[in-house]
Subunit: 350 residues, 2 copies
Amino acid sequence: MSTSTRSFAAQSATSPLASYTLERRTPTDSDVAIEILYCGVCHSDLHQARNEWHNSIYPVVPGHEIVGRVTSVGSFVTKFRQGDLVAVGCMVDSCRTCPQCLRGLEQYCDNDLTLTYNSPDKHTGLRTYGGYSEAVVVDEAFVLRVPETLDPAAAAPLLCAGITTYSPLKHWNVGPGQKVGIVGLGGLGHMGVKFAHAFGAEVVLFTTSPGKVEDGKRLGADQVVISKNADEMQKHARSFDFILDCVSAEHDINAYLNLLKVDGTLCLVGAPENPLPVAAFNLLMGRRQFAGSGIGGIKETQEMLDFCGEHNVTSDIEMIDIQQINEAYERLLKSDVKYRFVIDMASIKQ
Amino acid sequence: MSTSTRSFAAQSATSPLASYTLERRTPTDSDVAIEILYCGVCHSDLHQARNEWHNSIYPVVPGHEIVGRVTSVGSFVTKFRQGDLVAVGCMVDSCRTCPQCLRGLEQYCDNDLTLTYNSPDKHTGLRTYGGYSEAVVVDEAFVLRVPETLDPAAAAPLLCAGITTYSPLKHWNVGPGQKVGIVGLGGLGHMGVKFAHAFGAEVVLFTTSPGKVEDGKRLGADQVVISKNADEMQKHARSFDFILDCVSAEHDINAYLNLLKVDGTLCLVGAPENPLPVAAFNLLMGRRQFAGSGIGGIKETQEMLDFCGEHNVTSDIEMIDIQQINEAYERLLKSDVKYRFVIDMASIKQ
């Protein structure tokens, strides 16, 4: 038993995304069936559609920034009911018993994390299929509640770009009295600026693009530094409590390590393809730390959505129809989006 | 006014160390004059004698693991009196007013840290000269007390090798119930094993030398892993709370990052010459941290010496006369020492 569901899929690393009918499982007693209203477009979607991480199994239906309405719930479901505005992020299941899952860090599950797409699916024995589709069925433990006060389209990117920046800013206790750097103004970086500002920190945005200075300030940065300008960088030496590095392209980590105070942390959330050279003295001379962080756990993702509801934080988006997805990918490669594409999933019914 | 003092100095990057008479300042009211009994031989001594860090100004009198007896004290000195067993480590002064100095982290002083040798000397306008000499004059704020129960020769390496490993193990709260790795069994590593064991952690030593397995266990390691054996390494994946990396040679940091638990830290205390490539996913997939740490502050160095007095922790040493220093440097380059050379400074009077 399953339900035929319209989607857009890549059938190979070189084929454009195109219409594809997939089968969603019949909901179990603990499942929530969701009509997808909006799905954000993450750079990971493109990487996996094109097999750039060398682990794609086709067809790939991308999409892990999902907002929708509950259409039905299983008999054991207690947290949601039909009509609720809900969300699904990067994960749809985990082992739920390892130390990481028990700590609410399902994203680091020791055993078998099930990602929202291109991951082994325990129910079907096939792969999971993501949010570029009209509907999805997810265990209630991995469904989030979206505050009704938020614009549901602009809330979709919170599920990846949002939590990926919120979680490390929270983990490293960013707040008032602290000087915090955000490196890169893209999908992740623009959320990093918004959250760091909302948490009350002094926010400095680093960008290579002079054209982004005004936008950076509008989004909440107190200062914007053009990172190619060595003199301007040097003025900030040894002054940052925390720097969130949102850049996935190759870049010089040492230039940012030198801007940290003693005991400061530079946390990477982008994932550059090649290893980053780190000069030992930059760490030794100030007990500095170079860290990484991956998305966030389910409990923290809900906390983030609630915070966004209270403070009216959402992503700056450009809405597209699903039929524009291939064009959107090309623009994404040129960083030509302010700052996240979101698919209006009503378009899939055209 | 100054005091002629016998020492051993390098007069250039290529000349062997040889007898040299330097002038120590006449003690001020806050100074302690010390007859040097023993001085440990740190790899940094060799680096700076040979200008390998490109900042040496000659003559260079190395030595920053100094133990001696107080011969006189200035009129404002309250902590020491003639005859006390004392020590001097890597620093002899700092600004004392910046946030780092006020936190007891003088080693990260924002303004003008005065290292024990090859550093600008505020008193003379020349350079500081280190412990390869018969006497030294140091402000009491940078003099440490050595427990009389310790072997003073074996205590000398505590002033650099000891505090450099003690401080990060303390900072990252290493203790019972934790699995801790020590990478490399040399001057630093053998102290790391002793301290981690004394703090009650489960200690795993990583070494490239099968010949060091027995010694590792004798020094306190619960297990010794030959790091060239990939299968043996893989058995420890995702299992360490903390790893202290004491290796100064080029080595693969990623192999150790993969052994850390979620939220684990790999701390570097060796200083490899070239930048170390770090794969982003190794940090992202577990919120891991790659950190560095440099020696320790004065208060913590005293705490370390007191701990060593209570737990009878000292370095494993090989005693030499000052006339053997050039030969000792050659052996140091071959890691042919178990595990620290200490100069018996009585030999300088021969």
